[in-house]
Structure formats: C-alpha cells, structure tokens
Point group: C2
Chain length 125, copies 2
C-alpha cells in the first residue's frame, strides 16, 4: 500500500522542547518512511500556546491548515491564517504563537530538510 | 518583509504539460525565493480534471488542502481527501484526478526537491 495518512487521524506527540507551550506534532512523512530529502510534519498549537523562539541552520517551509496566529520573523510579529505559506530562512529567529481564546484549532505543516546544512539529522525529521 | 503569501490570493497558471486537464499551479516557495532545498507548489484541479500520469526521478510530498479526488499510485487508484498526506516515491508512476461533478474545489500542495536526483533543476521548482 502507498503511504497515505490523514493529519486528523494521526496521533500527535507533545513537543518537549524548551520554550514550547501547548504544541504537539506528528511526522507525517519523514526518515522513518525513507523520505530522501525533506520531512513533512503536522503541528497543532493550543490557544495561548507557542513554539520555541529559536533559530537553526536549516529552513522551514510552512503552510497554515486552519486557524489564525502569528509568526515572529525578521524581528517582528506577523499575523498568519489558513492558506498562508511562510518561508523561514536558515538562521532566522522565529516563533509561531496562538492568542489566548482563539476559537479555531491552529494547525500548520512545517517542512524541513532531512539533513542540517552543516551535517547531521534535522531533529524531528 | 518576510515571505508570507496565501494560496487563495496568489494567481495560478494553467499547467501546460501533456496529459494534464484542468490543472493550475502557483509556486508559493521556490527557486525564485531562494528556497535552498525544496519547493512548495499550490495546485488546483477542476472537476473532471487530472494531472499527467507520469513518473520522474524525484519524489513528491503531497497534502490535500480541500476537496476529494484520487491518486494513482503503485498500480491502483486510491481515494484521497482533505487532510491526507501522500508520499510519491521517485520513479513511481502517479496521477491525481478529480471526479466529474465534484462539488468542492480540489486543491493540494505538492512539495518537490529543487534538484533532480541525477542532477538538473526540477521543473516547476
């Protein structure tokens, strides 16, 4: 059978990373499926939650599946909503956050390369 | 300004590729935005339309944004719907199709590496 999995049916694990609040993730297509170049992860953030404000030597390509939130990028907060695509370049400080009281689940896809630019596995790929 | 673009606001171009019917595409993040490893494309297929049945030496990672259709993969048709992720491995014959009379627009993301495995730009990256 080909690999076809739905983000709404796939169990997600809490993101246990310093500076994270109320975020969970599932690797939909990654190293364990022998993805050769990049990994597609599904991420959900609860109202009032956020991903870590951090940077690393590889890029993210992001697609907002549902809800609305913000991304900190290039020194400022920018609102983002369903249908938005975001390029987070390597070494850019970034953070995704959802306001308290958001009514709709905030879900996004985050695609990362399998290899870090300076070598080694990308975490969560 | 960081690169944040919405798939619903971005003009799409018809896919002019033999064997394609009623498909259009926008490169949301790609070579022109200096994406270093992979390109994120937004694709829409009309009711009764399809992408070409073809194969190539690089993979697709696909996410169905809305609607329902089918993917031909590993010799069979498989139904796919919003929220599904699909891994099309390198050199696998594949085709995405939408039934006549589908009521909801069929939209998906198709992520491809920038470079073909044997060298050269991936078309539409």
């Amino acid at each position: 059978m080909p690999q076809i999995r739905n983000i709404y049916d796939t169990p997600m694990n809490p993101v246990e990373f310093d500076g994270t609040k109320g975020a969970s993730m599932a690797v939909m297509i990654g190293r364990e499926h022998n993805a050769p170049h990049f990994a597609l992860r599904s991420i959900a953030v609860e109202p009032g939650g956020h991903t870590p404000k951090h940077q690393h030597d590889y890029e993210h390509e992001v697609f907002v599946v549902s809800g609305a939130g913000s991304v900190f990028l290039e020194g400022d907060e920018h609102p983002i909503k369903a249908g938005d695509t975001v390029l987070v370049r390597a070494n850019e400080l970034h953070q995704f956050a959802v306001p308290d009281g958001a009514s709709e689940p905030f879900r996004f896809l985050c695609i990362v390369p399998i290899e870090q630019n300076c070598g080694g596995d990308v975490p969560g790929s």
